[in-house]
């Protein structure tokens, strides 16, 4: 590793200043949005400058300062940038800038947009901390920081109870995951003696040191991180918060709940890849959890009526794809999908926002239809997004999904592959279903009739993202087409160790590629054919009901985990505190009172009886003295 000192801290601080300025001065529209956009853009420019200094094998390091140190714990607030994170940095600040620009117009009619932009810039800050920190504790700072911003932004329209509740659900579900992260940190500090990523990686590369620690440590560490990732990156069993998170404003859904924050689990995995690659069983678990999530979410998405819910479940499903790639031992493929997904999912969400804006805040796709003519630009953008996510040839999703499917086929065999393939086909189906219901056919309601195209400031980011969604895949074309693999070389340069590379035969690769392509084209065609005239009268059979009601996962959690947990605790606390301790205390108070009352019988108030007691007392003492 070639270490170069560089000042990275400003990339983080500028959005923070943006946040503070907006928060303190409560700027008016559009200045609040413009300031925030400018801050994010400045951060993008700095990131780009830093990026240009990178090459595979270089590490930009900002030494920072000693954050805290006591006993065996020593944590630095320092930052580093590798070629892998450099790419992500551009995604965060670049896509972030576009979304800020979009939001400037989107939020301009809100009551207090300055608050929105303050949160949004703060989110970018936290996300950058997560991406750049050298130390895992620093990563955790960003990790929880993005969680809080997500909480605040989901509940941004706080006057609706449902929004605040969704925010709370996100926060608490993520906290459940974070316990795993904390546990992994304790393990790292206790056994590896450090929580700095590069030091951990050096440490585990030394077999003599590994032999000294108990064998359960490494799997436990990996599981802890994975558990945290199921929270933040919305995998089974903790994915339930993400669909509810759609209560937030749409730019938030695009930035936080599609492009950046939800991929942070994958980012941490990829950074620690040399560690995970030694944990085959954990990766197996990751793989099957991911497959289950991808399928489950896709199955839910095919019946949803809320446009944003469709996209949310789609995000969960796509995150499943990324984890499946990790489970199959292909971190680069997973990260490549992170990048492409950031482009087309941000595009889809922003377009959905534009549509919802045009529809006067109606989100039900059954009430839309025929928007193709009313909102031509949004229509094109959404179509591009759908094409890209479905993996039509030469779009971003085509390349990234193809690599994942190939890797899965290679290392996990037919069963895993076919399940993931089904999820991919379902993706194509439900995306084109939502496309057909929204844009094709004739307007089905008054609102759809009067829908209007959005302002240019909203459309420009859509166009940029459309272009990216179409082109970004060419960063890494399949090796059977061209032997130069830019993206892999670039990303793999971040680790100082070799990935095990095995390639399928050319014929197999061509076969897999054509199956997926033909399949998704067919699914898309089928969906358009079925739904272009409007919603099909649903026959409410059990399967449909299960899917529409999200397999009752929320209800099951609430009934069998949350409620018992809460009731038991509250009952226990009431019993012990109120009845037990306080009861005992009051009992002892009562004892004093009763004994006092008994003794007060002697206090008659009559002088003579007192004198009598005195005489008896004297006699008693005299008698006792006689006895002794």
């Amino acid at each position: 590793m070639n270490i170069v000192e560089a000042s990275l801290v400003w990339i983080i601080l500028i959005p923070l200043f943006g946040s503070i300025v907006n928060g303190l001065f409560r700027l008016k529209s559009p200045f609040n949005g413009l300031i925030a956009t400018a801050a994010c853009f400045a951060s993008f420019v700095l990131s780009l400058l830093a990026f240009l200094k990178l090459s595979p094998g270089t590490l930009l390091v900002d030494p920072g300062y000693l954050w805290f140190q006591a006993g065996h714990v020593q944590v630095n607030m320092s930052f580093e940038l590798s070629s892998f994170m450099g790419t992500m940095l551009l995604v965060i600040t670049g896509v972030g800038t576009l979304i800020h620009l979009y939001a400037t117009s989107y939020m301009s009619h809100d009551k207090s947009p300055w608050r929105f932009f303050s949160y949004l810039n703060l989110f970018v800050t936290a996300m950058l901390v997560l991406a750049l920190s050298r130390d895992l504790v620093g990563v955790f700072l960003g990790w929880e920081g993005v969680g809080v911003c997500s909480y605040l932004l989901i509940g941004y329209w706080f006057e609706e109870d449902a929004n605040t509740k969704a925010g709370m659900k996100a926060f608490i579900t993520n906290r459940i995951g974070d316990l795993g992260f904390l546990f992994a940190l304790f393990l790292a500090l206790a056994f590896f003696g450090t929580s700095q990523v590069s030091e951990i990686l050096t440490w585990i590369a030394d077999p003599s040191k590994l032999a000294e620690i108990p064998t359960w440590v490494m799997p436990a560490f990996a599981l802890g991180i994975f558990w945290a990732a199921t929270g933040k990156s919305a995998q089974l069993p903790l994915y339930v918060w993400l669909p509810d998170a759609m209560a937030g404003p749409t730019p938030v859904s695009a930035l936080i709940h599609a492009a950046t924050m939800v991929t942070s689990g994958i980012l941490v995995f990829v950074r620690l890849w040399p560690l995970f690659s030694t944990q085959a069983q954990v990766l197996d678990l990751v793989f099957w959890v991911a497959i289950a999530t991808a399928l489950l979410a896709a199955l839910i998405a095919i019946t949803q009526r809320d446009l944003k819910k469709v996209l949310a479940y789609s995000t969960v499903s796509q995150l499943g794809f990324m984890f499946a790639a990790l489970g199959a031992g292909a971190p680069v493929a997973a990260f490549f999908h992170v990048v492409t997904h950031a482009c087309f999912k941000a595009l889809l969400f922003l377009t959905a926002g534009s549509v919802i804006h045009g529809m006067h805040d109606h989100k039900d796709i059954f009430e839309m239809g025929g928007l193709r003519k009313k909102m031509p630009w949004s229509h094109i953008a959404y179509l591009v997004g759908c094409v890209a996510i479905a993996g039509f040839p030469f779009t971003a999703g085509f390349f990234s999904k193809d690599i994942i499917l190939a890797k899965v086929f290679e290392s996990k065999g037919l069963l895993g592959y076919s399940m993931l393939l089904i999820a991919a086909l379902l993706t194509s189906f439900y995306m084109f279903r939502s496309y057909a219901l929204t844009f094709l056919g004739n307007p089905r309601t008054e609102h759809a009739e009067h829908a209007h195209e959005s302002a240019p400031m909203i459309l420009v980011p859509l166009m940029v993202l459309s272009a990216l969604s179409l082109l970004v895949g060419f960063l890494e074309v399949p090796h059977i087409w061209w032997h130069v693999q830019n993206f892999s070389t670039w990303v793999e340069g971040s680790w100082s160790f070799e990935l095990v590379e095995g390639h399928l035969s050319v014929a197999t690769e061509w076969m897999l590629m054509s199956i997926a392509t033909v399949g998704s084209l067919a699914a898309a065609f089928f969906a358009i054919k079925k739904y272009s005239a409007g919603p099909v009268a649903t026959n409410e059979n059990t399967a449909w009901k299960l899917s529409f009601n999200k397999f009752y996962v929320d209800e099951v959690y609430s009934r069998f985990i949350v409620q018992p947990f809460r009731r038991l605790g509250v009952a226990l606390s009431t019993c012990v505190d109120e009845k037990g301790i306080n009861g005992g205390l009051h009992g002892s108070f009562g004892l004093y009172r009763i004994s006092g009352q008994l003794l007060s019988v002697f206090q008659t108030g009559s002088v003579q009886s007192y004198a009598l007691f005195m005489v008896f007392g004297l006699l008693l003492i005299w008698g006792l003295l006689q006895l002794c």
Binding site: Q603, G605, V607, Q608, Y610
Partner: protein, 101 residues
């Protein structure tokens, strides 16, 4: 044969006992006060005799002190009685129970 010291102590005990019984049994406050005075006199006799036995003036001086205090106390008590009598028209001890908690 009973010595003089014994005799004096016996008188003192009798005085004290009579005083005690008077104080405990009489209903009239003034009589009860007289009982207390008798008890004090019993004590004074003991003090005098003890001083003589030890051959110093401590007993006599303590006796003088008690007489002094008793006089003051009697004056105070009697004045209280006067006030109580004026207020309530009686000095029956049993009826005064305001010391009850």
């Amino acid at each position: 044969m009973i010595s003089q010291a014994h005799l004096i102590l016996l008188v003192a005990v009798i005085l004290f006992s009579v005083g005690t019984v008077t104080f405990l049994t009489k209903r009239n406050a003034v009589v009860a006060l007289m009982g207390i005075e008798l008890m004090l006199n019993g004590i004074n006799l003991v003090l005098l005799q003890a001083g003589q036995l030890h051959g110093n003036a401590e007993g006599s001086s303590l006796m003088l002190f008690v007489v002094l205090v008793a006089a003051a106390e009697a004056a105070l008590a009697l004045s209280i009685f006067v006030i109580l009598f004026r207020k309530n028209g009686m000095l029956i001890l049993e009826n005064y129970r305001s010391m009850k908690g």
